[in-house]
Amino acid sequence: MSPRTLIGLIYLVAALLFIFGLKGLASPRTARRGMHLAEVGMVLAIAGTLLNHDVVRLEWILVGAVVGSLVGAGIAAWTPMTAMPQRTALSHAFGALAAALVGVAHYLEHRALLSTAELAALGFEVMFGSLTFTGSLVAFGKLQGLVPGRPVTFKGQNIFNVALFAAIVGLAVYVVVEPSLPTAFFVMVGLATLFGVMLVLPIGAADMPVVIALLNAYAGLAASATGFALGNDILIIAGALDGASGLILSIIMCKAMNRSITNVLFGAFGKAVVGGEKAAVERSYKSATPEDAAALLEHAARVIVVPGYGMAVSQAQHAVKKLVELLQRLGVDARFAIHPVAGRMPGHMNVLLAEAGVDYDQLFDMDHINDDFERTDVAIVIGANDVVNPAANRDPASPIYGMPILNADKAKSVMILKRSMSPGFAGIDNELFYAPNATMVFGDAAKTLEAIVQELKELAPVARAVA
């Protein structure tokens, strides 16, 4: 068997392992086994590549592999679960950087030998790789708080971006037709890196779930394009899987925020939100102490907790777990309702609550729990805002009108844990806070929850007996 055939067969096995590996993620029970399959696939693919007769020296591969492995292991070991969105954005940047650099090196070495189709793939690879690299870095900066989280906008922004994109595409076409001119190629790379920054700057931090999913898709496409340029099937397949995943997540996030997919594909989102003027009207609301909250919970039979980004900020997942556990010991039916865009990335809340040790069968998707709010005594909203704003259902003038929300307002009482009365990130006033069945409990969510747990233990002798 020739080495080429052998490598091809090894790649085939690796591709199957990737597919079965991702299939395992259909359930938490099979997920870890699936990941082990995918890991074996990756080791096989790398080992197979080393057999390629073009690989004539190993020292630089080794240097890169050791450095990358150390950095990767460090990030994996020390990233707190609350920082998972940042880590994800950063990893998209790394993936895109790798694709872009491979493309640039390939162009430098082989530009005279490449077919038109390969050049087109290469152009696509470098373009998407570069813009995803810088775009992901900006997303990382926003999530980490290094770059202002609010949308950064200026006059003529859309026209500028469209012109920039047109210039990039024009240069890419030119490079395909006339590959011998490196200047055009490198100007394209430079403009694409600039475009990545321009693409993400105008997007607010609250829209990050969509952006992260979209950058995920872009990074996958860049990897696939690398495969086309190098004529390498395993790259095409793995990139396609990643691209499909990013696209599906983008669509889910879009639906959950009532944005159209075209809106997302052109990246022109996050600007609709200019609200805040309406908030000028003084309205009355009720506020309560943790003692009052505990008294309310003591008489409840059914409780649903709605977590949001505020829970992550306050690191309140451990305190909320304590409260829910205590309520359950008191015989209360207590569960969690998770909105698809709660937090800063898909599945953010689930991971935080899992970290705190909450069983995943207590975490319910919006579609599965939304009808139960009517039969619920107390809904506890922790650091969530837009995802429970009834204006999305009722007020056509609201910027979030039409967005599917958790019907926390339908519960008999709603308890809202929040730092202050200031409107949420999007700057939209929340009607829920002024509703007759709503009570605000101000303060740091984690401290408030701890206080409620203490009070509840004193109020309910049964709890004290068990605790």
Partner: protein, 100 residues
Amino acid sequence: MDATIQVMELYVFVLAAVVGYHIIHRVPPLLHTPLMSATNAVSAISVVGAILVAGADASWIATLLGTVAVAAAMTNVVGGFLITERMLKMFGRRDKGAAP
């Protein structure tokens, strides 16, 4: 390179994307964060392309770019799989007591 090979690659891409679409569609929202880190690790297969560049008999600049690319991709391979495992371990906690 002749066009037939390019069309075969297009087949591979489209079929893989369709398979990917159906598999990923079945992943519950519960696991969307691990899904992202997992697909990220899988797409770090770019390391294959990077190895081919870094290991080839090429100019120093291409070798340098290839080496950085290997490092960037390996960060995702190792980091992506480790962090996915770390998250999935948390989701598996409940089964620990029940497991034999």
